[in-house]
């Protein structure tokens, strides 16, 4: 579809009765990309989506779709279509009538509407369900109808508000693949909102991680997962061990005096002048645990607090003398350390990175 457009947010602020819901967001959504706004509830991601669709107006800042500002335009004048969290399928209309709604509003002639709706039913695997009332279809089917109703009007931007939130786990996996396929085939700009990090990582070309009305990090799923820019992102997307450290001329000094080489890269590395306090981050998958005496790599000594077996992997949780919590997640064939024993938690320096303290 050639009508696909990019979306630009410039310094968008939304204030509700003194409360700052969105505290200055600038974001470039490339044309044809699948961008996810990821964050906990109340972080401002839904407000942002509602401002793009026109249900809320920014207090200040600009929103442009395809280069033209849409601020002040009512929802029905914007070339966006939204998939609602509760689907909002019109209960007094059939599946077909729901799909045809937007086309009817656009005064398309009847044969053309019928053809488009039939094609959409086919594409979503809903052929034969067109005459059903929306109360007579399953949750997964309702989700597809909601998607189809938005797609059939060929919007420049498709907005998805927690699109898979109401589905059970198995259906959610299935629909993730389906969404990915639709995005690939249609080449449309998708902007989704979710609090589910796995969904965001699976679906998106770019993820904007939001917290307290701001974007903490904007990047590809790989960037966001492998090199989170802040403590919040490191903690919210996946799990991370966060160890306080001080930068020294020849490397890093950890809380107990252990010295490590300075990892390359990482958003904190830029400002890592000698003497600066930083945080060393490392994913649990990269952390190995050894009995205290047998360690070959430098690491942190910690008392083992909990050993949890989960089939595919074994999780070992320890706490250092300074109180830092460390987690290791390793496919566990080797004999685990005993609870209460002293062990060394170590990792390859390249697997770690530095973020601001």
């Amino acid at each position: 579809m050639s009508r696909s457009e990019g979306v630009t947010l410039a310094g968008v602020v939304k204030r509700y009765e003194g409360h700052l819901a969105v505290a200055g967001v600038s974001l470039e959504v490339p044309r044809g990309a699948f961008v996810t706004l990821l964050g906990p509830s109340g972080c401002g991601k839904s407000t942002l989506l509602r401002m793009i669709s026109g249900f809320a107006e920014p207090t200040s800042g600009d929103i442009r779709i395809g280069g033209a500002s849409v601020v002040g335009l009512p929802p029905y004048r914007r070339d966006t279509a939204m998939v609602f969290q509760d689907y909002a399928l019109f209960p007094h209309r059939t599946v077909e009538e729901n799909l045809a709604f937007g086309l009817r509003i656009r005064r398309m002639d009847k044969p053309a509407i019928r053809a488009r709706v039939a094609a959409m039913l086919e594409m979503l695997g809903l052929a034969g369900l067109g005459g059903r009332r929306v109360s007579e279809i399953s949750g997964g089917q309702a989700q597809r109808v909601a998607l189809g109703r938005a797609l059939v009007v060929e919007p420049a931007v498709l907005l998805l508000d927690e699109p898979l939130g109401a589905l059970d786990l198995k259906l959610r996996k299935q629909m993730q693949a389906e969404l990915k396929r639709l995005h690939r085939e249609l080449g449309l700009t998708f902007i989704a909102v979710t609090h589910d990090q796995e969904e965001a990582l699976n679906l998106s070309d770019f993820i904007a991680v939001m917290n307290a009305g701001r974007i903490e990090q904007y990047g590809t799923p790989e960037e966001v997962y492998a090199r989170p820019a802040t403590r919040f992102v490191a903690d919210f997307v996946g799990e991370a061990n966060l160890v306080p450290a001080t930068v020294e001329p020849d490397g890093l000094r950890l809380e107990d005096g252990t010295r490590l080489p300075l990892p390359e890269g990482g958003p904190g590395a830029v400002r890592a002048a000698a003497g600066a306090a930083v945080t060393l981050a490392v994913r649990p998958e990269a952390v190995e645990v050894h009995a205290a005496a047998t360690g070959t790599r430098p690491g942190l000594a910690a008392r083992v607090e909990e050993v949890l077996y989960s089939g595919a992997a074994r999780r070992v949780i320890g706490r250092t003398a300074a109180g830092t919590r460390l987690t290791s997640l390793q496919p566990g064939a080797a004999a685990p350390p005993e609870r209460g024993s002293l062990a060394t938690f170590s990792w390859a320096p390249a697997a770690s990175w530095i973020i601001p303290a």
């Binding site: 929802p75 509760d86 709604f101 109703r149 938005a150």
Partner: protein, 270 residues
């Protein structure tokens, strides 16, 4: 069987017996009117003298009675239509728009509901002194529209609070303007409530006596005719008319309320 096993059913029995008594209390007067409407005695009383339908025929042959019924129906239809039309837009605004003076507006809506009708009637009489031409049918329509539009607005407001906002947003998102949203989404989904509210307003206006009596002038509505006849011995013709009207009232209010309640049930399911 032990006493413990019997206790719950004894409780239920007591409840059922009590309920039966209450329903008897509520429907005894209605049953009595209907009974005497079909009894041939000219002065209603026991024992019954025999079955007849002559009072119905006599009632419709009585020009004053039949005429007042037609007048009441006409005026009630006009005021109910007016009340519903005034109430619906206001209810939508109250339910869906942020309003700074919402409490004040709600209080103003509640005013005519709780104001003693006698006071409203006297007030309207005073107002009509400024426009004596209004006395009669226009004043009755105005009075009833005032009384019913306020609770019509409150009832619709209460219904619309449960209306899913995302239906409206989805329609707007697909290109529907406010007016199209109203026509395509809001109206079809609230039609049962609107019909029910109209029917209640109609029923209320049809039977309202005191305010109409104050501003009626020479207009005779059915309640005014009945009131006049209450000063004498009640004619069985009145019983016949009342039976018909009560049957219609019960039918209308049952139908409209069942409609509302069933709709509410369906909305909860989806």
């Amino acid at each position: 069987m032990s006493l413990r096993r019997l206790l719950p059913s004894a409780g239920l029995l007591a409840f059922t017996a009590y309920a039966a008594l209450i329903y008897l209390f509520l429907y005894l007067p209605i049953a009595v009117i209907a009974l005497f409407a079909f009894d041939s005695r000219a002065i209603s009383g026991l024992p019954l003298a025999g079955f007849t339908t002559q009072w119905f025929a006599a009632a419709f042959a009585d020009p004053a009675l039949a005429g007042s019924m037609a007048t009441s129906a006409r005026l009630a239809a006009a005021s109910a239509l007016l009340a519903t039309a005034l109430a619906m837009p206001a209810a939508m605004v109250l339910a869906w728009f942020p309003l700074r003076w919402k409490s004040a507006v709600l209080a103003l809506m509640l005013g005519p509901v709780v104001l003693p009708p006698l006071v409203l009637g006297l007030g309207l009489v005073m107002l009509a002194r400024a426009a004596p031409g209004m006395i009669g049918e226009p004043a009755i329509i105005i009075a009833h529209a005032t009384m019913t539009s306020s609770y019509a607005a409150l009832m619709l407001y209460s219904r619309l609070l449960g209306f899913r906002r995302s239906y409206i947003e989805a329609a707007m998102d697909l290109g529907a303007t406010e007016w199209v949203v109203f026509r395509e989404i809001v109206l079809p989904l609230t039609a049962p409530a609107l019909v029910a509210v109209f029917l209640l307003a109609f029923t209320d206006a049809f039977g309202e006596f005191i305010v109409a009596w104050f501003v009626a002038g020479f207009t005779k509505t059915l309640p005014i005719v009945i009131w006049t006849s209450l000063r004498q011995v009640i004619s069985p013709k009145i019983n016949a008319v009342s039976t018909l009207i009560i049957a219609a009232t019960l039918l209308l209010s049952v139908a409209s309320q069942l409609w509302i309640l069933r709709q509410a049930g369906r909305a909860r399911e989806s």
